[in-house]
Every structure is written in C-alpha cells, then in structure tokens.
C-alpha cells in the first residue's frame, strides 16, 4: 500500500508543465479557441514527441507503455492550463483498440496515435443522451459479413479532427441477457463496436459550436457506412468493453476536470490576495476564504477517489465501475460549484471575456455531463451497492 506518486511521476509532471508553459500558454489556448477544431496539428505533434500522447500505448506500438496513474498526472496538467486537445478522445479510442482490436487493427492505429499522426475518438451517444449501452439504439443492416450503418451519433468529442471513430451500434441479432450493472433496457440487437475512418464513404461530420470553445464536438452522420470484419472490434463481451471505455472516460474527465478546478482555485486564491477592498485583501474575509477552503477540501477529496480509480484500470478491473462513479459524481458537482463560485469571487471582472476565470467556468459546464453527470453516477452507485429497484 503506497498512496503516493513516484519520483518518476514527479518528473513527468514537471516535463508536462514545462511543455505547456512553453507551447500552450493561455495566449495560445485563446488563439486555438478561435480555430475551427480548436486543434493545432503542430502542437499535437510536439506533444506526441514529448511523449504524453502515446503514454498509455504499449512500447511495441511506439508508445511509452505507462499506466493510468501516469496518464492522470498528464491530464491534471492539461486540465490546469485548459489545453485544447483530443488527448482524452485518442486515449479512449486507443483503449478500445487495445482491449478488443485485432493485431492488424492495433498495427494500423496504435503507432499512429502514439506519434501524433492520427486522432481517434468514441462515438457512443445518440439523441437519447444516455451514457451507456442503453443509449445505443443504432441498428446495423447486415449485408452478410458487413454491417451497414445508417444513422447519427451525437456529441462526438473532437469529431472534427478525428481520423477514426469507435462507433457503438447494434447488430440485427438479438442480444443475450444484459451483463454487468446495466439495467435491462429492451433495446434489441447485440452490442458491437466498429472502427469507422473519417474518410470512409458515407461519413459526414457536422460541427456544433461549443459553449467551452476549448472543447469541440460534433454530430457524426453515417449514411450507408460499411463495417466489415476487419473494422469490427472483436470484443468478447462488448457491453463490458463499452462500460470500461465509459468508465475510463469518466476517470479521464475527472482528472482533467480536477486539474481545471485546481487551476480555477489557484487563480481565485491569487485574486483574493491581490484585490483590496475595505482596506484589506478580500481573502481576509471569511465569506471569501472559507469558500476557497471548501474548494480545496473538494479537490483533495476528488484526488483520493480519482487516483484509486485510475490505478484500478490497470490493476483491479472489478473495482473500476464503482470508483469511476464515485470520482465522476464528486467531480461533476464540485467542479460546477467551484466554477460558479470562482467567477463570483472575482466580482465584475469575473463576468468579462478578458479574465481567464470564465474559461474555467465553461470547462466545468462541459465536464458535468461528460460520461454521465452526478445523478447518473449516484443512480449507478445505488444499483451497485443496493441492487436494482
């Protein structure tokens, strides 16, 4: 039992911080926000060379072969600086391929992810907005060996810059009994995961303007897109694989959200030290300082849950669902509060476009629904600990 970061993880954090200071300071964040995909291929390439992009990818495929706790270190820093990047999306696509991909699929995508020459993302959600297998209603027409998709995937993160989408859909075959903690949903057809390349015939992406302009998403239209056996992921238990991807997503968003929450807190603590009213820094007033102390209690508590969850992805798979939900539920609500209060503690300048705190507020709005909001995860925890109603 050792609940501390290693020395190497400390070096990793320093290296990522230095990279972000040099290559992605707030001025660059604001510049990227105004570009169509909030994505800079040069920055992404450089980040890959620095090693962060391929951090989780096995060395055999050109990555660093590190674990999720290491990845959390990186995400805390990209969150703290609000770096616009498809880092989480690509990590999740890579996880899908690692878990369920064939050697050829791994060979095709993982090295390109690691070197920053391809970007991947998950396409799971539909108009129903249910973050789980129960939200996957898209049914393929089966053309012998090939699944043909007609339909839409919504809220696809980094849809505009992705080269490959991990699409969740259903085959025409009836599914077996639902597994895991999923409540019976009645949607027909066995769950499948397939890889759809951006340039495949029938793929269209419509970008939707984002509230948080550092984060982009779009609607993926699939108009007769063909998924052959070579593009299907051969997951032994697709529901379990999908659940793992979404849990890893929860943990990744929690890590980036935590970094951002700490960033917002640091900005606001500094502001509270600098801004003078009634003859003293406003940070002397308890209405200010106690809110900031509460934020710190929340960020520290989230860390405890998050680190365990990240560790569990590599070391204790059976604990992942519970800890993903514990961490994401805490983050979703606490970060929301932190965003709101940090803006308020800035007074009127908090309401300006010029001050950076508004960017953190918008990030908190982005993070809340990602992979399920607080109530979604509280309901799931209730099912895990008390069974279905």
């Amino acid at each position: 039992m050792n609940f501390g970061f290693t020395e190497e993880q400390g070096f990793l954090r320093d290296a990522v911080r230095k990279f972000l200071d040099d290559r992605c300071p707030m001025a660059e964040v604001r510049r990227l926000m105004k570009t169509p995909n909030a994505h800079s291929p040069e920055l992404w390439k450089a980040f890959a060379e620095q090693g962060s992009v391929g951090l989780l990818i096995p060395e055999a495929y050109g990555g660093a072969g590190l674990g999720w706790v290491d990845f959390v270190v990186v995400l805390e820093e990209t969150g703290r600086t609000l770096m616009p990047s498809p880092l989480v999306s690509t990590a999740l696509a890579a996880l899908a391929i690692r878990e369920a991909g064939s050697p050829a699929q791994k060979e095709r995508w993982l090295p390109r992810f690691a070197e920053g020459s391809a970007i991947g993302t998950l396409a799971v959600l539909e108009a129903s907005d249910l973050p789980g297998a129960e939200g996957v209603a898209l049914v393929a027409d089966s053309d012998g060996e090939v699944d043909v998709l007609h339909g839409e995937k919504c809220f696809v993160a980094d849809a505009g810059c992705a080269d490959v989408y991990v699409v969740a859909y259903r085959s025409t075959e009836r599914s077996a009994e639902p597994s895991g903690d999923r409540a019976g949903t009645g949607v027909g057809g066995a769950l499948r995961l397939g890889l759809v390349a951006r340039d495949a015939p029938g793929v269209r992406v419509a970008l939707v303007p984002s509230l948080d302009e550092t984060r982009r998403s779009g609607t993926l239209s699939l108009d007769g897109v063909r998924i052959g056996p070579d593009a299907r992921l051969a997951a032994a238990d697709p529901e379990a694989t999908l659940a793992l991807l979404l849990d890893a997503g929860s943990i990744a968003v929690t890590a980036e959200g935590l970094g951002a929450a700490e960033g917002a807190l640091a900005l606001t603590v500094q502001y509270a030290k600098d801004r003078v009213q009634f003859g003293s820094p406003i940070g002397r007033f308890q209405g200010v300082k106690h809110r900031l102390a509460d934020m710190w209690v929340d960020t520290e508590s989230i860390k405890s849950l998050l680190y365990y969850g990240a560790w569990a992805i590599d070391e204790r798979r059976d604990a992942v669902p519970r800890y993903a939900s514990l961490a994401k539920a805490y983050l979703a609500d606490a970060f929301t509060r932190i965003g709101v209060d940090c803006v308020q503690l800035h007074g009127a300048v908090g309401y300006t476009i010029e001050y950076d705190i508004q960017l953190y507020l918008k990030r908190s709005k982005w993070a809340r629904p990602m992979f399920g909001d607080g109530d979604h995860h509280r309901d799931r925890l209730a099912r895990l600990s008390m069974g279905n109603r």
Binding site: M1, N2, F3, G4, F5, T6, V69, V269, A272, K273, S280, P281, G283, R284, F285, Q286, V288, K289, H290, L292, A293, D294, W296, V297, E300, S301, I302, K303, S304, L305, Y307, Y308, W311, A312, E315, R316, L326, A329, Y330, D375, H377, R378, D379, L381, A382, S385, M386, R389
Partner: protein
C-alpha cells in the same frame, strides 16, 4: 501508487479475521464492563492495543498501514473500540511518548493500554474556546509543586476520569503562545471539583472542572515549562486524525442503509425512492473519499511528510456527512422522528462532534491560512 496490500499485510488481515471468528461473541454483550475488560486483555495479549506504540512501553511496535488494517477489520465486525482509555490512547499517550520523561512513560503508558487509567482533556475554559491560546487557568510554581487556580469546561468524561491532560498558563508576561505549559494531573488531587453538564441529547458527557489551589508535583509537567503549545499542537493533530477516520462513518452508512430498507416513503420502501438512493450514494462518495484521503495521509506520514493541516479535510467532510446522515435518519423515521429513541438521539449527537476538536469555521481558517496562504483574519 500501489493500493495492493502486501502478502504480509494480507496475512495480517486474515489473522485478525480468524481472531474475531474465534473470540468475538455473537450477539455482542451490550454495555458490559466485564466483557470489555476481558476483551481488552485478549487484545493486549496480541499487542493490538497501542499497536504502533513502542514495544518497550507495552505497545505493538507496529506500522501505520497494519494499524489501519486492524482498525478497519475490527470496525467491519463491530468489535468494541481498541482499548478502553480512548483519549489516553489517541492523544495523551502519544504526547507522553513524544515529550515525556522515563518516569512518566513508566507511570502512564501501560496503564493506558491496560485501561487502568482514564484520561480527560482540559483545554477549553468559559472564556476560551476556538482561541485556545488565550487560556487563563493559572499554575504558579511553589518549590517542587505547581499550584493551580482556574476553571476548565466541556471536559468530556471528567466525571469518571483518573487523570486530566491539561493546559495552564505559567507565565502571563510573555506572548500568549509562550506562557502555556502542559500538566498531567490525577483527578484525585485535592482542590479539584467537578460539576457535570447535560448535553442537548440529555446525557452528561461533559463537565466543568474547578481548580481551587490544586497542587501537583513539577514532575507531572509534560515537556518544558512554556512549551505546552508545542505539545498541544501534536495532540490536537492526533485528536483530529482520530475524528477524521472513516471507519465510524462506514458503520453509520451501513446503519442508515438498513434503516432505508425498513422505512417506507409514499407507501413504498424508502430504498426505492430515487432521492433517498441518491442521497445514500452521495454519502457513500464522501465516506470513501474520507477513507482514501486517510490512506493518503498515512502514506505521507510514513514518508516523513507531516500531516498537520490535512486532517482538516476529513474533519470537515465528517461534519457534512454527519449532518446529512442525521437528517436523513430523521426523515426516514417519518412521524416517529418526534418520539424519543436511540436513533433520534444519535441524530442529535453530531451537533457536539461537529464542534469538538475545532469547529468547521476554524478548520476552514486553518486551510485558508496555512495551506492557501490567505491573510489571517
């Protein structure tokens, strides 16, 4: 980061479980002092009381992780608390280990472990609460003795305590932190009188303690004269880290879940109510966060990084949790919440624990000033 327990730690867990299987009676006798004494002897034989105290003073010489495992297993089975002298074990003993003379160690440590002593703590005074350093209770040195005049209040367990771990002012001429000294005083000392105070749940848990020229030998001083503040900072950290352990909260969560199973809301089992379920999940989130934060701080301690202010996190979390749990308990009881009863009274007790050991506002000040570096108010 590695959350796996080592095979040795796992084996220790198994040993505890086997011990509990063999020795823990089912059902457990309630409020039976003879049973508690017998139980303590059994634990003493295993050196599980004072598990991390030095062996030469009767402790187990164990490490903090194993101690965590021990507490967790005991609590999971609802075994009686480890040790009979709660304050002695949690902060007085550790303070004596850190600052005491050989004679003081010999006199007090084994007595605490055996449950032969029962300590209480004299910090607060009628005019001195959160601002503890302004304490007034006076001790004047006369030859080999201190003569104590003054009053303590809110002294938990003083009515059956054998000793008081107390702070006195020995020098009113220096700055308020410097003139404080810590004394270890037998409650049988002439000149001490006790008057109980009923708390709002109707129990006499705390007291006023009056010192009217009580004399105690200088050899009962813990640490140097004027060094009492240093002693008490360590003791308060130990008190708060005891308060901030998650084990008790896990039991509460269990209790409230069983209550939710029995209770009905809107004609249905309460456990089918979305709002109830979500509130229980919210509690589960905080309890688990407390548990893991506790483990993180243990790691910090083992790595030699002091965990002073960080216990404030869990003290605050506990305050929130106890509030939520108490209110949900009363809501689940429905109209029966108006009756007197065990659950109803327990639901009031948090009003005390939330203040004892330092109020939430004081914890927030500590975090804001010591950790975030905001100006003192």
């Amino acid at each position: 980061m590695d959350f796996n327990f080592t095979p040795e730690e796992q084996a220790f867990r198994e040993e505890i479980r086997a011990f509990l299987d063999a020795h823990l009676p089912d059902p457990m006798p309630e409020d039976d002092p003879d049973f508690l004494r017998l139980w303590n002897e059994k634990l003493r034989a295993k050196r599980w009381v004072g598990f991390n105290w030095p062996r030469e003073w009767g402790g187990g010489g164990g490490d903090l992780i194993r101690q965590f495992i021990l507490k967790e297993e005991m609590s999971a089975r609802r075994a009686p608390a480890l040790g009979l002298d709660f304050m002695g074990l949690t902060w007085v003993g550790p303070a004596i280990i850190a600052h005491g003379t050989k004679e003081q160690k010999a006199e007090h440590l084994e007595a605490i472990l055996d449950g032969r002593s029962h300590w209480c703590t004299g910090y607060s005074e009628p005019d001195v609460g959160s601002d503890l350093a302004s304490l007034q209770c006076r001790a004047v040195r006369e030859g080999d003795e201190y003569v104590i005049h003054g009053q303590k209040i809110w002294t938990t367990s003083a009515h059956f305590a054998s000793h008081i771990f107390m702070l006195v002012r020995t020098d009113p001429t220096v700055s308020k932190y410097k003139g404080i000294t810590c004394l270890l005083v037998p409650m049988t000392t002439p000149g001490i009188t006790i008057s109980p105070i009923e708390n709002l749940s109707g129990k006499a848990s705390f007291n006023q303690v009056f010192f009217d020229g009580a004399r105690t030998p200088v050899s009962n001083r813990l640490g140097a004269e004027g060094e009492g503040w240093k002693v008490v900072m360590g003791a308060l950290a130990n008190e708060r880290s005891g308060i901030s352990e998650a084990t008790e909260m896990l039991q509460h969560l269990d209790d409230i879940r069983s209550l939710a199973k029995r209770a009905r809301r809107g004609g249905r089992p309460a456990l089918e109510d979305d709002r109830v379920r979500r509130r229980l999940s919210e509690m589960e989130i905080r309890v688990e966060a407390m548990r893991l934060t506790g483990l993180r701080h243990l790691t910090d301690q083992i790595n030699g990084k002091p965990s002073g202010s960080e216990t404030a996190i869990n003290k605050l979390q506990r305050g929130i949790l106890e509030f939520e749990m108490s209110e949900l308990t009363l809501e689940l009881l429905g109209s029966a919440a108006q009756h007197q009863g065990e659950l109803q009274h327990e639901a009031l007790a948090w009003h005390g624990t939330v203040i004892g050991g330092g109020s939430p506002n004081i914890q927030r000040n500590i975090i804001a000033e010591r950790i975030l570096g905001l100006p003192k108010d």
